[in-house]
Structure formats: structure tokens, C-alpha cells
């Protein structure tokens, strides 16, 4: 146990040393990380999550030029706490998971803001790639690093909603995304 602690400390120190130079590499802990979306349906908000997603994060506040956030989302893992709705969401008119099983987000540039960071990245969703900005905070504590933030996108930009679902009367176009990535050093 003691050796393990020592080893962990050594890894952390090494990690910190690398971070100063280029930016530390992390992956998100699937158990503790959360990716949530908030849509509006029939005038009321509803929340859902993606249970399965992986992220590779290279990040250091002082090396933003080489920092990068890369997230792969398993669209089948969508859960809006209603099986009927989840089936509809997975169907061809909405996510069309049969043809587009994953969504991908990768940042192109990250800048510092007054309250944290903002980034612009390319989101590939339902086969369409478009830029989506995100706002986030980064905290590197003894317990581990955490990256959390939010984004806003319009579902129809990505063709999410065909046929009847194109109408925004019942399901709003704007969707909020909230994420919280608990990061583990990679390697």
C-alpha cells in the first residue's frame, strides 16, 4: 500500500512536470464522468444522459495551443429515463444510431476567458460536422483533474429530427449540453 502511494505520488509529480511543458494527457473516468443534454419538449425541459462516452484530454492552462479535448459518444447509450422516448431518439428520424452509432467532438482552439476557458470544436453528429463552442472550467486538485462545462447547439443543424420531428413546436431546436469529466492521467 505504501509503495502504491509512493508510486502514485511519483506519477502525479511526473504528470505535473510534463503538464508544465506540454499539457498533461488524461482520459475520463467513465464511472464519475457525466454527459447530459437538456431539451425542451411540449414546453417543458427534459434531461437525458449518455452513459457511454470516452474522452482523451490533453490540457494545461499554460499550454492552450497544444491542449485538446476529444470526446467519442456512443449514441446507443442515450437514456432520457423513458424507454419509449429512447427508442424514438435512437430511431432513424432522430439519432439514426443504426447508421451513426457514434458522435465525435474535437476542439480546434481553446482560449482563456474571465471565468474559465472557451473552445471551438467540431461536432460530428448524425453524419454532419459543424463547429460548436463550449465553455468550461478546469480544476487540477489533489483528488484529480476535473473538466466541466456546457454548450448550446441547435439539433436541426445536425439533422437531428426528420419528418414530424423537424417541427420545433413540440420539440425545441435548442439543446443544452452539460458535461463533467473526471480525468485520470493517461498511461
Amino acid at each position: 500500500m505504501r509503495n502504491l502511494c509512493l508510486a502514485a505520488t511519483a506519477v502525479m509529480v511526473l504528470g505535473a512536470a510534463t503538464a508544465a511543458a506540454a499539457g498533461a494527457s488524461y482520459t475520463s473516468d467513465p464511472q464519475q464522468s457525466r454527459l447530459e443534454f437538456v431539451g425542451v419538449q411540449a414546453g417543458a425541459e427534459f434531461k437525458g444522459v449518455f452513459h457511454k462516452f470516452t474522452s482523451n484530454v490533453d490540457f494545461a492552462p499554460e499550454a492552450l495551443a497544444t491542449s485538446r479535448i476529444d470526446v467519442q459518444i456512443d449514441m446507443n447509450s442515450v437514456d432520457s429515463l423513458d424507454k419509449d422516448r429512447d427508442t424514438t431518439i435512437r430511431g432513424k428520424d432522430v439519432f439514426d444510431v443504426a447508421h451513426n452509432p457514434t458522435a465525435h467532438y474535437i476542439t480546434k482552439s481553446i482560449t482563456k476567458t474571465a471565468t474559465g476557458f472557451s473552445a471551438v470544436g467540431a461536432l460530428t453528429l448524425r453524419g454532419i460536422t459543424k463547429d460548436v463552442p463550449i465553455e468550461f472550467q478546469f480544476a487540477n486538485q489533489a483528488a484529480g483533474a476535473k473538466l466541466s462545462g456546457s454548450a448550446k447547439l441547435n439539433r436541426l443543424d445536425f439533422g437531428v429530427g426528420q419528418g414530424d420531428w423537424k417541427s420545433t413546436d413540440t420539440v425545441g431546436d435548442a439543446v443544452k449540453i452539460n458535461f463533467s469529466l473526471v480525468l485520470k492521467p493517461q498511461g
Binding site: 419538449q41 411540449a42 414546453g43 417543458a44 429515463l81 423513458d82 424507454k83 414530424d164 420531428w165
Partner: protein
């Protein structure tokens, strides 16, 4: 409360509550029962959106109506009615009041259980009453559906009784709830 003799007619307020809620219940049956036969889709959601907004309107009116009823004495039942008829009439009315609360409340809970929060005509969202839960939803839905049949049967009984009073007994039971009419003591 002043100890006066009971009124011979329902007040304008009581009539307003009665006919407004009656009209809304007709709308609710139309929306609710037709939505039940639609597959999950934008049309079903839109119809249930109206159903839920009207349902919350009825619940609000039911609260106001009950308060009004508690502080305003209704006209008495005709003297010619037998004891059992009077008891049956009172039981019907009590059951109506119970359903005016139970129908919207089970509907509201259904929405919460399925994680479809209730909006009021897209103006604001009512809080969820219970946490999302599939079993609870199924139980609430069958309760809501079954009680809708009870409400239908009760409404039929109520209408037939009112017509019987008017055409058979030729008393003023129907007329005293009708606006723009005059009740003459006929019993």
C-alpha cells in the same frame, strides 16, 4: 356564516365553475382518448401537451371551486326526493369533486414518472411530483385510464339525473344551474 335560508339557485360563480369545468372535461376526453391511440410521435406529444395544460387548468379551478363551495351554501335538493335519492345525489357530487382532483393529480404524476414535465401552455413548468419510474408510470396510467371511465359513467348519470328532474319531476334542479334562466319554485 350568516344563518340565512338556502338560495334557490346556484350563484353565477358556481355556474361559471360548473360549465367551464364541464366544457374543459369534454375537451380533455377528446384529447386524452384520441392521444391514447396515436403512436409516440410529434402529433401525440402535441395533443398531450394541450391535455396536460388543460388538466392543470382544471386542477387549479377545482381548488378554487372547492374553496368557493366550502364558503357558499348551494341550493337544497328538492323536498320531493327520497332519502336514498338524496344520498345518491350527494355521493355523485362528492365523487365528482374527488375526481376533479384525482384525475389531474394522477396525470401530473404520470408525467413526472415518465420524465415528461408538465408545462402550462408553454408559459411555465410545474415541478415534478415523483421521480422517474417505469412501474409507477404504468400503475398511474392504468389508474388514470380507469378513472376516466368512472368519470364518464358519472357524467352520464349526472346528465340523465338532471334531465329526469327537468322533464319527469318538472322541478328546477336543472334550471337553477343554467345561466340566463329564472327558476320558479315548481316542486
Amino acid at each position: 356564516m350568516p344563518n340565512q335560508s338556502p338560495p334557490t339557485r346556484y350563484s353565477v360563480v358556481a355556474q361559471g365553475f360548473h360549465w367551464l369545468i364541464a366544457a374543459l372535461i369534454v375537451v380533455q376526453f377528446t384529447l386524452g382518448w384520441t392521444a391514447n391511440f396515436l403512436p409516440l410521435g410529434a402529433r401525440k406529444l402535441a395533443r398531450l401537451d394541450w391535455h396536460k395544460s388543460f388538466g392543470m387548468t382544471i386542477l387549479t379551478l377545482a381548488v378554487l371551486r372547492l374553496l368557493w363551495r366550502l364558503f357558499n351554501r348551494p341550493p337544497e335538493l328538492p323536498a320531493g326526493m327520497s332519502g336514498i335519492e338524496k344520498r345518491l345525489a350527494r355521493a355523485t357530487h362528492v365523487l365528482f369533486y374527488v375526481l376533479l382532483f384525482v384525475m389531474p393529480l394522477t396525470g401530473w404524476m404520470m408525467s413526472s414518472a415518465k420524465n415528461y414535465s408538465v408545462s402550462w401552455f408553454h408559459q411555465f413548468t410545474w415541478p415534478n411530483l415523483i421521480a422517474p419510474n417505469e412501474q409507477a408510470f404504468n400503475l398511474l396510467k392504468s389508474t388514470h385510464d380507469t378513472l376516466s371511465w368512472l368519470l364518464f359513467a358519472l357524467a352520464l348519470l349526472h346528465i340523465l339525473a338532471a334531465l329526469k328532474h327537468h322533464f319527469w319531476h318538472k322541478d328546477d334542479v336543472l334550471k337553477r344551474m343554467l345561466p340566463f334562466t329564472k327558476s320558479e319554485k315548481r316542486s
